[in-house]
């Protein structure tokens, strides 16, 4: 095994990078959130913020939006094998880029793509990696990365003092994106060397889930259904409220396990971690595994028949009642308000 030397000369590594994850040619919101947060960190380090954008030829046109959110530089890697994310070619290309230009900090969205990529890159580069961060700060020139662990029961602050880049995946929706004109807008093109051995995994097909209308992790509003809705067909009522509010449909593990709805909707430890502006839990008891996935939402409304349901412990507003009565009423009243 090739044990790469460590630690590195920290002074040779400068600037903050963010990974501009794109799906089907569109840069994901988490990239803009990272750019906004990176600028705060950059102010403390007196350095620049750059974005790494990978895709097939033509992805360059996405760079403009990255500049609008404050990237001073975009490292552009256009290559036919980078159209869709796959571990090996992405790891190869971005590792080569990072070893050439040496960023001090590299932030990646904690999506399925980001967590797959960052984990592999950190071993290849030989640097520290902190997963799913919800807080970032600079102290004595070092990145302090704070994240929940043990199902959100403790918070841990982690540093990588002697290795560069300091890498972290960052939970989507934790940081707010905001537009700010960057001082400059420079594009640096990079040609990676991608080998045959990087192309062993072949993408055969992408199966869309017609029931997913709004991406849960990107949604500002989520309406979730649990066993308490009584019957799979009652997800229609959840969907209707989600439709009126422009939100996404979430679900408890119990409903997914029972086959009431697809796994793409599952919120919680074995599903997705979400932190929308508004989370409405309908007929969800609130096991710790579910709470872990949604308790950082700004406002939580819980609707449940059982006044002792644990969901009420994390709820901003609790309604003890039958969701079959309360949810349609909520939909009706909101519709009336919106005329």
């Amino acid at each position: 095994m090739d044990l790469r030397p460590n630690p590195v000369e920290a002074a040779n590594w400068k600037g903050i990078w963010i990974f501009a994850e794109q799906r089907e040619g569109q840069v994901q919101n988490v990239a803009f959130e990272l750019l906004s947060e990176a600028q705060k960190l950059a102010a403390d380090l007196n350095c620049e913020v750059a974005a790494v954008l990978c895709g097939e030829a033509g992805i360059e046109k996405q760079a403009g939006t990255l500049f609008e959110y404050g990237a001073a530089r975009v490292y552009l890697i256009e290559h036919p094998e980078l159209k869709h994310y796959r571990t090996a070619p992405y790891t190869r290309a971005i590792t080569q880029l990072a070893l050439k230009y040496k960023p001090e900090i590299f932030l990646i969205g904690a999506t399925t793509v980001g967590r797959d990529l960052a984990a592999r890159m950190a071993v290849r580069i030989n640097c520290g990696l902190t997963a799913d961060c919800t807080g970032l700060a600079i102290e004595n020139g070092i990145l302090r990365q704070t994240r929940p662990a043990f199902g959100g029961n403790i918070m841990a602050t982690i540093i990588s003092p002697n290795h560069r880049p300091q890498m972290a995946t960052v939970r989507p929706k934790v940081f707010k994106k905001s537009k700010v004109k960057s001082q400059k807008s420079e594009i640096i093109k990079f040609d990676p060397v991608i080998n045959q051995e990087d192309l062993l995994v072949k993408l055969i097909n992408i199966v869309r889930d017609e029931s997913v209308k709004v991406n849960l992790q990107e949604a500002e509003i989520i309406i979730s259904g649990g066993r308490g809705i009584g019957d799979p067909k009652n997800f229609a009522m959840i969907e209707e409220l989600a439709g009126v509010l422009g939100g996404a449909v979430g679900a408890s593990r119990a409903t997914v396990d029972a086959g009431w709805i697809s796994a793409h909707h599952q919120v919680g430890q074995t599903g997705k971690t979400v932190s929308p502006k508004l989370y409405i839990a309908c007929g969800i008891a609130g096991k710790i595994q579910h709470l872990v996935g949604m308790q950082s939402s700004d406002t939580i409304i819980a609707i449940n028949k059982d006044p002792d349901a644990p969901i009420f412990k994390v709820a901003t507003y609790g309604i003890v009642g039958d969701c079959l009565e309360v949810v349609p009423l909520l939909t009706k009243k909101i519709k009336e308000l919106r005329g």
């Binding site: 796959r86 790891t91 984990a119 030989n126 990696l129 602050t157 002697n162 995994v201 072949k202 992408i206």
Partner: protein
């Protein structure tokens, strides 16, 4: 088909204690279980073995008491288990853990497939599986919800945010599985008896020929510098009245907060 499953023993409780000197978690004295998603990885390995032949080897890196987790895997039907245990491994982060597990796998010999749960419920990092793949220089597919082996390659369905992706990956490779892939079996009485009698083989740092400069806390690039309780969630408000009154009240509150 020879399969290795990497599992982790995790605390069965949300109670955690912290060693203030090392800033690491004290696992002693806390009831421990097999990480639930790792049970799915074991289950998948057993099903593949039963279909294609071969053997299932389960390994874990941990303190001596992690033998209990391995015994459970024997009870489920694993053919061989190894505890990778040494003081030199204490305080490992995901980088050092993946190095140690990969080194042990190399030492144990040739394997067709390595399975891991997508993440452990204590650390929640999802970094060790891909790390092992990188150390072994073999391809990986994460978040598998369906696995079909066809001679030298595997067709894997991945559970992503909004879609499922179907990919094909050659053996040998590392797959991490999600909870939804299967329902882990309950050990049979015969399995439990076998587990009870089993002697668990332990492999030390020297036995797997690990480079101790890169194991444990010393070999870990990351340091935990602070552990604290999350800010307490402010007490919520229970609404009262008829369903209609409560609905009207909650809408007013959401409008006040400019949430809707």
């Amino acid at each position: 088909m020879d399969i290795v499953v990497c599992i982790k023993q995790v605390p069965d409780t949300t109670e955690v204690r912290i060693n203030p000197e090392t800033n690491t978690l004290i696992r002693e004295g806390v009831p421990a279980i097999v990480n639930p998603i790792d049970e799915n990885a074991v289950e998948e390995a057993l099903r593949l073995r039963d279909k294609h032949g071969g053997k299932v080897t389960v390994i874990t890196m941990g303190p001596p008491q992690a033998t209990e987790a391995l015994k459970q895997c024997i009870a489920m039907g694993a053919d061989e288990v190894y505890l990778i245990s040494d003081r030199a491994f204490a305080g490992s982060d995901t980088w050092a853990t993946s190095y140690t597990l990969a080194t042990a796998i190399k030492k144990l010999g040739k394997f067709d497939l390595i399975l891991c749960g997508k993440q452990a419920i204590d650390g929640d990092t999802a970094q060790v599986g891909p790390g092992i793949a990188e150390w072994l220089n073999i391809p990986q597919v994460t978040f598998a919800i369906k696995v079909e082996v066809d001679s030298s390659k595997v067709k894997v369905e991945r559970l992503l945010e909004e879609v499922n992706e179907i990919v094909e990956i050659p053996l040998p490779c590392v797959l991490t599985v999600v909870k939804q892939i299967n329902e882990p079996r309950v050990p049979s009485l015969k399995g439990l008896m076998r587990a009870k009698k089993a002697e668990i083989k332990t492999l030390s740092a020297a036995e797997i020929e690990a480079d101790q400069a890169v194991t444990g806390l010393k070999g870990s690039p990351t340091r935990v510098v602070k552990i604290f309780a999350p800010p307490a969630k402010g007490g919520g408000e229970m609404l009262s009245g008829t369903a209609e009154e409560m609905v009207v009240a909650v809408i007013d509150k959401l409008r006040e907060r400019k949430t809707i």
